[in-house]
């Protein structure tokens, strides 16, 4: 596999040119610093141009780049005193999810991360980051342990999806994911989730329910893989680039839909171009957010978490046929939002899009 993507070719070309000029100037002892400087400027412009308008599919490709800092890199770089805790106490120890205690920026945490593996042998062992039920059950067991000792839980998500196999089904893949979602929705300790690469469907959600949902700038989170979506829509997985467009799976889209809270920026060109800088940013984000979450009284934290999930969704309601999204607004007691709430939504206190009753949903804005 090339360590750069097709759309990055122009950047690689200029970089190569610069290298050639440097070599030439050394060998021939001529001063080419002017030309090299000119090319550097060109390169900088080119990078900005390419990386500032990545298509969703290009972002998916960056999210899958094996050079990105992964769970094991992060543990090695800034999780202090990490002690891995293995096993689900029922069936086995799934290496596709790594759990353990450690310290991040002075905060003691329970660390849970999905792992794809760095070389062929590891990748096969980790099923390329697709966990089995015992992986989800291990994660849940360690989260319960964290709850008992009031340790915040940090979940790093990076999976193409939960493993599709006979054993996984025999051991209750669906059940394991459901139990995790159920328990994470009410766990009485802070939970911070960060998507560092791929956020593949239920397999991501199985360790992805928390007080704060964050996603790296070049990561994605989707109900189905772009390839799977393309296979359904066009009977052609090669059309994944088009599927990536329609699925609205980029961090910016996901934040707009009221699903993600924060986007963690990456170095220009993606986290793999400068892993050290990327991890510095991740560490700073986790440290700051853990401080914030730990300051919230636990009852309030759990209630806020419930309300957060309770209000994700966009639909038409009532004869007034309004698209009402009320993030953080309660409609718990009454089946319908009160007229006051609807009015507040219209006034922009919450996000609302008005639609006429006779207008078909999905019209262009």
């Amino acid at each position: 596999m090339e360590d750069f993507l097709e759309f990055e070719q122009p950047i690689k070309d200029v970089e190569k040119k610069i290298e050639e000029l440097k070599k030439f100037s050394e060998q021939m002892d001529v001063d080419l610093s002017g030309s090299i400087e000119e090319l550097r400027k060109q390169l900088d412009l080119l990078k900005r141009e390419i990386y500032n308008k990545l298509t969703p599919w290009q972002r998916v490709q960056l999210a899958r780049n094996p050079g990105r800092p992964d769970t094991m890199d992060i543990i090695a770089t800034f999780v202090e005193k990490f002690q891995e805790l293995h096993g689900d106490r029922f069936f086995g120890d799934d290496p596709a999810i790594v759990c353990g205690t450690g310290i991040i920026g002075g905060h003691k945490v329970m660390f849970i991360g999905q792992r794809k593996g760095k070389n062929t042998k590891e990748r096969l062992r980790c099923n390329f980051g697709s966990p089995h039920p015992e992986g989800y059950r291990k994660a849940l067991r360690k989260m319960k342990l964290a709850e008992k000792f009031h340790l915040p839980v940090v979940c790093l998500i990076n999976t193409p999806g939960a493993y599709p196999g006979i054993g996984a089904e025999e051991r209750g893949q669906a059940h394991a994911i459901a139990e995790n979602i159920f328990e994470m929705s009410r766990l009485r300790t802070p939970i911070l989730c960060l998507v560092i690469g791929e956020g593949g469907s239920g397999g991501a959600l199985g360790i992805g329910v928390g007080d704060r949902l964050a996603i790296m700038e070049n990561a994605y989170f989707s109900v189905i893989s772009p390839e799977g979506c393309a296979a359904i829509l066009w009977k052609d997985s090669e059309k994944a680039n088009r599927a990536a467009e329609v699925l609205k799976l980029t961090p910016k889209d996901l934040k707009g839909l009221g699903i993600f809270d924060d986007i963690v920026p990456e170095p220009l060109g993606g986290a793999h171009t400068n892993p050290a800088a990327a991890m510095e940013t991740i560490k700073a984000y986790l440290t700051k957010t853990l401080t914030e979450l730990k300051a919230i009284p636990i009852d309030k934290l759990v209630e806020t978490r419930y309300q957060k999930y309770r209000h994700i969704g966009i639909f038409l309601e009532d004869q007034q046929a309004k698209v009402v999204m009320l993030p953080g607004k309660g409609v718990v007691e009454s089946a319908l939002p009160t007229p006051g709430e609807i009015a507040a939504a219209e006034m922009g206190e919450a996000q609302a899009v008005e639609e006429e009753e006779d207008v078909k949903p999905g019209k262009e804005d």
Partner: protein, 287 residues
């Protein structure tokens, strides 16, 4: 997403059915009298395969006559992603609504089972394969909160080959968390939730509320699981064992409590509700 289960069934219907009086069993392939099937709760007289029911038929079988009150039926799907491929989600919604008379893939409300009130939710696989988008998620959450607030048992009859609905993207995925969180609250309040699984219950539906029943019962031979059999086959490149991901397979592996044939379903639900009904005297003693 697991569309393949249903697709496999559809593709099995090879030969055309002789005339309107007959139908072919999608499981055993036998040609059977439609009238006999209808009289027998839409169960195959040859192999007792359970054919799909509409939400209306399901409610008629489970709920006492004239006691069902539809609730939360003022919700309908929007098109939050402006999803457009060869066909648009917005058009699909309109077509499905016109064809089924439903607003989305769910019908919910309250009703009686032998005189005892329950909150009941039924997904309807005629509408985009019973998949869960914002409306299904919200309806289940509201029904669950209603059951909690009114101390009613909650029954959810699931049947979705599609799981989380692709056309609403990550919003559909998050309905798994929304419904599960609501069920967690019902659980904490001591409410009873009986999950009924019908053919097929897969993917995001099975990996959320459908798996979270205090008691989980399934109709016979229903396809139940996370990943669809076609995708598993493609991935592992080997044949799947006989009966893989069927109700009987799940019972054997310990993931459901009972398999209940359709004609017995209402009685069984009543018995379970009665079994878990707190005795007034015991409630005081425990605390």
């Amino acid at each position: 997403m697991a569309f393949d289960g249903l697709r496999r069934f559809i593709s099995r219907r090879k030969k055309p059915i002789p005339d309107g009086l007959w139908m072919r069993c999608e499981d055993c392939g036998a040609t059977v009298y439609k009238r006999v099937v209808e009289e027998k709760y839409r169960v195959c007289p040859e192999c007792s395969f359970h054919f799909t029911l509409t939400s209306e038929q399901r409610i008629a079988i489970l709920v006492d006559d004239e006691t069902f009150v539809a609730r939360w039926n003022n919700l309908s799907p929007s098109d939050p992603l402006q999803f457009k491929a060869e066909s648009a989600y917005a058009d699909k919604i309109r077509e499905e609504q016109a064809r089924t008379g439903l607003k989305d893939a769910v019908v919910a409300g309250t009703g009686d089972i032998y005189g005892k009130s329950v909150t009941i939710v039924v997904t309807d696989s005629r509408f985009i394969m019973g998949s869960m988008g914002s409306v299904v998620g919200e309806t289940i959450a509201r029904a669950t909160e209603y059951a909690k607030d009114h101390g009613l048992p909650l029954i959810i009859v699931s049947g979705s080959g599609g799981g989380a609905r692709m056309y609403e993207g990550a919003l559909s995925l998050m309905q798994m968390a929304k419904t599960s969180a609501a069920i967690a609250r019902l659980h904490e309040a001591g409410g009873l939730f009986i999950s009924v699984l019908t053919n097929p219950t897969m993917a995001g539906v099975m990996a959320s509320f459908a798996s979270l029943g205090d008691v989980i019962i399934a109709e016979p031979k229903a396809l139940i699981g996370f990943t669809g059999p076609r995708v598993i086959k493609q991935t592992i490149k080997q044949e799947l064992p006989d009966g893989f991901q069927r109700s009987e397979f799940l019972l054997e592996h310990g993931f459901i409590d009972q398999i209940v044939p359709r004609p017995d379903m209402k009685d069984r639900l009543a018995q379970l509700i009665e079994a878990f009904r707190p005795e007034p005297a015991a409630a005081g003693k425990l605390s």
